[in-house]
């Protein structure tokens, strides 16, 4: 299972859970499973979040694959100027 770390303010929607293991093969599956486990988090998963899989940051990449041994961080989306 992928090890998932929630960064920043997301803990307020998960009862202070900041890390957990999730069986998900893609970002879409990960979001769905996190949304099921933490219903308050679900709407925020669609709002400006990025996902770092093994260090590489992905944005708007629901279909990006996740390996079983991946380390996944969910963090604020990055923009720029």
């Amino acid at each position: 299972m992928a090890h998932v770390v929630l960064i920043g303010n997301l803990r307020q929607y998960t009862g202070d859970v900041t890390a957990l293991d999730v069986d998900a093969a893609s970002v879409r599956q990960l979001f769905r499973k996190l949304g099921e486990k933490f219903p308050e988090l679900a709407p925020h998963l669609e709002e400006g979040l990025a996902v770092a899989i093994d260090g590489q940051i992905y944005q708007d990449a629901l279909l990006e694959p996740i390996r079983p041994d991946s380390e996944v961080h969910i963090l604020p989306q990055i923009a720029g100027g």
Binding site: G8, N9, H73, L75, P76, A79, G80
Partner: protein, 759 residues
């Protein structure tokens, strides 16, 4: 210029051809936002609030509409109310209620210059007369400008429904703090307990404007059938289309947006101000409407970046090992929520490989124009604090500032304080380049000092579409959708030329309009050369594949038996038969008879962006009689991944450094007690000009990004991150005084030097 570039492996990439848009720009032929004209166009003007904070009791436009030559007036009633919800769009998430209320004030005006109404008239005189004839009745309210004043109990509240998020339990009363964010790594208490030296300081930065020379401008033409065209200076015309469609409740398909040439954006042209007003006026008047901001309007009503307060605490061992870093960052959002406090927090300690970090940030509204993105939004502010403190620690430990940074520098495998581990990054290479540079070793004169600082930016990819068509004569036309601000068209043509092995001058690029190409996210986040480059390479490879397919048909052999080498299409081997190699031009001539035009098209969501680190060295001379700081030598060193066109990479390094120098030494929004901006013009808001500056030297470091076909990293934002701390460190050594507030303008420097007995 010094380059630390590997031996060129490419024919075109890494060379310096003349930019395809250069002649038009130096001859004045290039069309910027205000240059387009249409028959029958009207002049649009905006009535703006004279008050920093007031309730709008009534607006009477009847007298304005009755004036000769006045064709239309719009107020907030012409824009549908939007719910307060955060929706992914443009630069991350947006709140359309805030956006529409910023474009046109509804119940309250929240800053001096806030739009209240807009008019369209036959000429400027009539438009200005119409503005005078609009009667607005205000109930003036108390205002607050400074972010630290805005969070004090009893401060005037801007939004009665603003409840701070990120706080448990949620507050029950409204405040000016939109949100609190927190990032943690390890255990800072443990880290500080391990430290031999702990230093803690508070830093202040002022709001500064992006300072683009070209003001906001657009021309809108709405048709009776509900469709509309818009020509606009913008960093992202698909984003403009989406925002305008939402604010006006129009179909996206009915709005066609064309981006003009752009005279600077730096993040400030990623949002809308005039555009929805011009479209609404044009729809009402049934004539084209052109709107151009004055410089005063640009300063008062378009987004600067945040000023802020940054408290930093760093613990370090005697040998220079940093054991913990902690920061509290409070940023101005302007009148509506949404400062860059999150990236400011994430950037704060990104230069370092630390085990224990805690950063807390606050997003604070006050009666200022809503901030907009500005080059590495938030990063320069937090980095100024952290890098300044690292310099002070180096001084206290008696260590070389480069060696202290090398001891703690982020590298591949470092876990950033915001969570993920870095892939290959080039900070150590930049620090080594600084140490080896002539600049670092050069002697200094009297009253001179040298400083150094590092900086970081994430960089992004995103939605991108490119079309590349092989013309009948073998030349190519490239259509991209990310507005070209700093040499993009040249860089894209070079990557296409490298792939296709054609002369780069045979490829003519354009920036296509929103109805001619699939969706493109804006030019921002240092993404355009990375993302549009990736799409260009895909499109070029598609052309090669199609051309090989045509040759296979002509030769009656399988497509797999055809190869593309050295710019020629050839049989893959002797078994494929003896056929005369064909060039792309040969294929182009017969394209129409072998299946039709050959067009490479790539629509991607570019992933794999890689961060860029930089290190700047600044020499300053401080006049002890006046406090004036002169930058006498400056070197910007940065990892580009791969410099496609080194001149434009150098241009980005130089431009970012100069904007940072302005931020450090002169630029600031100055408000009076009345809450009004006192320096809304380039005479009083002092940006550095060429005569103020030395040549900005550059060193390009290249640690390739493995996720890009040519190793490209974004490079446009990092160069504005290190300058303020680098100059602060240089001023410290030149004057003997350490400063904790920007700008380090002559009166402040002189006062501090006198207080310290140095002047």
């Amino acid at each position: 210029m010094q380059e630390r570039v590997k031996k060129p492996q490419f024919d075109v990439v890494g060379t310096r051809p003349v930019r395809p848009d250069g002649v038009d720009k130096v001859t004045g032929r290039a069309k910027y936002g205000a240059d387009l004209k249409m028959a029958g166009q009207l002049v649009g003007k905006v009535l703006r609030s004279p008050h920093p904070h007031a309730r709008i009791k009534s607006i009477d436009v009847s007298k304005a509409l009755a004036l000769p030559g006045v064709k239309a007036v719009v107020t907030s009633k012409d824009f549908p109310e939007q719910p307060s919800e955060f929706i992914p769009a443009g630069e991350g998430v947006v709140n359309y209620r805030d956006m529409t209320n910023n474009v046109m004030a509804r119940e309250k005006v929240l800053y001096e210059g806030h739009a209240v109404a807009a008019v369209a008239a036959l000429n400027e005189k009539a438009a200005l007369a119409a503005l005078d004839a609009i009667k607005v009745e205000y109930e003036v309210l108390p205002h607050v400008i400074d972010e630290m004043e805005a969070i004090k109990p009893g401060a005037p509240i801007l939004h009665e429904d603003m409840i701070t998020t990120g706080v448990t339990p949620p507050p029950t009363k409204a405040s000016n703090i939109s949100k609190r964010v927190e990032f943690n790594l390890g255990d800072v208490d443990k880290g500080f307990a391990e430290a031999d030296l702990i230093v803690e300081r508070e830093f202040k930065t002022k709001a500064v404007h992006q300072g683009y020379i070209e003001p906001h401008a657009c021309l809108a033409s709405a048709s009776e059938d509900g469709s509309a065209e818009l020509w606009v200076t913008t960093q992202g015309h698909w984003v403009v289309r989406a925002y305008c469609a939402k604010l006006l409740d129009w179909d996206i398909s009915k709005i066609r947006v064309t981006s003009s040439e752009i005279g600077g954006g730096f993040g400030g042209k990623t949002v809308v101000y005039l555009e929805p007003l011009a479209l609404a006026l044009s729809k009402k008047a049934q004539r084209p409407v052109k709107m151009v901001m004055s410089r005063e309007e640009v300063f008062k009503a378009s987004g600067p970046t945040s000023g802020g307060t940054v408290k930093v605490k760093i613990g370090v061992k005697k040998d220079g090992t940093i054991t913990a870093g902690e920061a509290e960052i409070t940023l101005q959002a302007g009148a509506f929520q949404g400062s860059p406090v999150q990236p400011a927090c994430m950037c704060a300690f990104a230069n370092y490989d630390l085990e224990n970090v805690k950063v807390v940030g606050y997003d604070v509204v006050s009666n200022r124009p809503k901030v907009a993105a500005y080059r590495a939004p938030g990063g320069p502010i937090s980095t100024y604090g952290v890098e300044s403190l690292v310099d002070e620690i180096a001084e206290k430990l008696g260590m070389c500032p480069i060696e202290l940074r090398l001891k703690n520098a982020a590298k591949e495998g470092t876990r950033a304080a915001y969570g993920p581990k870095f892939g290959p990054v080039g900070l150590i290479e930049c620090l080594e380049a600084a140490k080896d540079s002539d600049h670092w070793k050069a002697p200094l004169g009297p009253n001179q000092g040298r400083g150094l600082a590092a900086g970081f930016w994430f960089n992004i990819g995103g939605e991108t579409t490119v079309s590349l068509q092989l013309n009948e004569d073998g030349t190519l036309t490239l259509m991209a959708g990310t507005p070209d601000i700093g040499g993009l068209r040249a860089s894209l043509c070079m990557m296409a030329a490298e792939e296709l092995k054609v002369d780069v001058s045979k490829i003519r690029p354009i920036i296509a309009d929103t109805s001619s190409l699939g969706y493109n996210f804006l030019t921002g986040g240092s993404r355009s050369t990375f993302s549009s480059g990736m799409a260009t390479v895909d499109a070029a490879r598609s052309i090669v594949k199609q051309a090989c397919g045509r040759a296979a048909k002509l030769w009656d052999i399988p497509e797999e038996a055809v190869t593309f080498e050295d710019g020629m299409i050839r049989p893959a081997g002797e078994n494929a038969g003896k056929h005369k190699p064909m060039s792309l031009s040969d294929i182009a001539k017969v394209a129409g008879k072998t299946g039709g035009a050959i067009v490479g098209y790539a629509a991607i969501s570019a992933q794999g962006a890689a961060p860029s680190f930089g290190v700047h060295i600044a020499d300053t001379e401080v006049d002890p009689g006046t406090g004036k700081v002169t930058v006498t030598r400056y070197t910007a060193i940065q990892d580009a991944g791969k410099a496609i066109h080194p001149s434009y990479v150098e241009g980005q390094y130089q431009g970012g450094a100069v904007q940072g120098i302005g931020w450090a030494l002169n630029e600031e929004y100055i408000y009076g007690e009345d809450g009004k901006l006192q320096n809304a013009g380039f005479l009083d808001y002092r940006v550095p000009v060429a005569s103020d500056l030395p040549m900005i030297d550059t060193i390009i470091v290249e640690v390739p990004n493995p996720r890009h076909p040519y190793g490209v990293r974004g490079i446009g934002e990092t160069p504005i991150v290190p300058p303020m701390a680098a100059i602060g460190a240089a001023v410290r050594r030149a004057s003997g005084v350490r400063f904790f507030e920007l700008p380090m303008s002559p009166p402040k420097v002189l006062k501090a030097m006198k207080a310290a007995g140095k002047a």
